[in-house]
Point group: C2
Chain length 339, copies 2
DNA sequence: ACTGGCACTCACGCCCAACGAGTGCCAGCA
DNA sequence: TGCTGGCACTCGTTGGGCGTGAGTGCCAGT
């Protein structure tokens, strides 16, 4: 049986009221606060149907109704009206990002921004930029046989790995650096991997040991996707859960310390350019069964670099949260593309 | 009036019992669990004195006693016996740090380690290494007039700043790079600042604009102490507060997101090579009035680079917490010194 | 198809009494 | 002088009983 228009309106009313009041909502309050033009009794009949179909439930016999995950899902898919950003939110986005120094800084600012506009816990993944090309490779000696391999890509990202170098190998290092730069500058990581392994074959025998060490470090850096790094912020917003401490807040805190879990949460939103909502039990991680995740990939045009999102109670204001996550993701994508 | 030996033993017994049970402790339980060889009545008299002097208090008239901040302070200063690390703790310290890649990685591992062995929230400050010398400066062009200044010091730390560069300035950049490296490699940051400003004067006029930009970026990097960065971990341990959510946990979570507050907490421990304990109201930050901070500087020999510590409830197991913080700080100091 | 009426359910708040852990005080004893 | 046993007292905690009210389901009437 399909739900008629009034039942959908009632479901929407229940959800908006419950989200703002955090209390089960009854038939009487419903007709008073929304002009439904029917009596409480009629609403009760409709609510009985909605409950039968699994969209709402009552915590105990003589209480009002609260939405189920399925109810929220329907709301998000079909009932949510787009809530435009407030001027304050627009302003926050602009001012937060202005003057960011580098990629690190952009990510740090983004996570604070997301947490602030959504009032939830924010998660931001480092941008991957697989299309970035290698710009420069440097080999540097430090002290006591320690050295450093440095890799710079066209997106301005700098990575380094420590290596061991023999004493008095400066000349060898300079030679190796030149060879490597000639071989890989301008390539994507993917192509550079081939070029580097090929390079090893044409090295003079004396340069082999050092060459192996350096190339290994470079391959390691190229293989380790920076987007496996995730930053979290806005944890104090968890206090909005208020009640249910041990049952809800603790698992969430634990999830937030596990990079792997976070990556999985965001990962499933990674392919889509638009906002993904995962409600309650839809979450892959058991500890987040009573929370929702609103996430979005970000990037430039069709090139998605990574994801960002928020974690909050299932009873959240989906329309404005979705609007905010979408706005921040788009803005950060543009911002990074422009450099 | 000075406290006699038995009163001190009673205070110590109250604290250890309260820390493990989290409940007010009465005179009767006290004589049963510790062999005090006196009657409960005697203990009561002594407790009355201890309360009068402000070392303990009772939450309500007919309840047992709990320690005050002043009581904990006396305990930490004079009554705490050193509790040696358990074999498991020793092992944890060794295995956690083994195989760390670079400074970033060491800091990340340290914060997890501290959180795990103390079961509290851990805070670790990046090492400053003011004695490190400049090892290499690089100038790299990216795309669309964007470039990068890279600074490497002898401790293996790599920093970068984005700059704007005119098109087709590769030759100019190479020249500038050579001049800068000749001028500053081997110097501490402090000396390099003079050398760099001097360098500007001898540049050909055509190189001035670019030179200014690059030097400004370098000075900015040298001025920004990496030890202003702080990493936090073990936040789920906050659930040990259990009760008092809004009153205690929220302020702590807020403090943990404010780098400035964290730096201040650690900062006051920075000068001392040994563990510093700050109990309840002794904390500079109002939100942490019901928590204690156990911190220690770390470094090598007399050269202290930065601090680390933990935040937990005032009712914590001070002897073992102090022992653990000390052990981790020393180990990490040694570990970094050896490279 | 909707409405008003009505009996029913049940969480919540309140009061009150019993309980008991713990205290302070005091008189007695070494 | 210092310790002890005894005793009256305090007061938070627990649990049962009860009234209240929000909310429901059902049904007959329009």
């Amino acid at each position: 049986m399909v739900l008629d228009d009034r039942k959908l309106r009632i479901l929407r009313a229940i959800i908006t009221d419950y989200v703002s009041s955090q209390e089960p909502v009854g038939s009487r309050a419903l007709v008073e606060r929304h002009n439904l033009d029917v009596s409480p009794a009629t609403v009760r009949n409709d609510m009985a149907v909605l409950e039968e179909q699994g969209y709402i439930t009552q915590p105990h016999t003589s209480a009002g109704r609260i939405p189920t995950d399925k109810g929220y899902r329907l709301f998000v898919d079909r009932l949510g009206t787009v809530k435009p950003l407030t001027p304050a939110e627009r302003r926050a986005i602009q001012t937060f990002m202005a003057g960011a120094l580098d990629v690190d800084d952009v990510v740090r600012r983004t996570v604070r921004l997301l947490a602030q506009v959504t009032h939830q816990v924010a998660i931001v993944q480092y941008p991957a930029m697989a299309t970035a090309t290698i710009r420069h490779v440097d080999l540097i000696t430090l002290t006591h046989g320690r050295g450093l391999v440095i890799l710079v890509n066209s997106a301005g990202r700098v990575e380094q790995r420590p290596i061991e170098v023999p004493d008095q190998a400066d000349e060898q290092l300079a030679d190796l650096r030149n060879r490597i730069n000639l071989a890989v500058v301008g390539m994507t990581s993917k192509r550079a991997i081939d070029a580097l392994t090929g390079l090893l074959d044409v090295l003079p025998d004396s340069g082999r040991p050092l060459g192996n060490v350096v190339v290994a470090a470079l391959l390691d850096m190229m293989a380790s996707d920076p987007s496996t790094r995730v930053v979290v912020g806005g944890v104090p917003n968890l206090t909005r859960f208020g009640d249910q401490f041990e049952t809800t807040v603790r698992p969430v805190l634990e999830a937030l310390e596990e990079q792997v879990v976070l990556l999985r949460l965001l990962g499933e939103a990674g392919s889509s350019a638009d906002v993904t909502v995962r409600i309650g039990h839809e979450n892959p991680y058991a500890g987040l069964r009573s929370t929702s995740v609103v996430a979005s990939a970000y990037g430039h045009n069709d090139d998605m670099w990574a994801s960002m999102g928020i974690v909050g109670p299932t009873r959240m204001d989906y329309p404005s949260t979705i609007a905010n996550v979408r706005a921040v993701a788009r803005y950060v994508g543009r911002f990074l593309a422009e450099g």
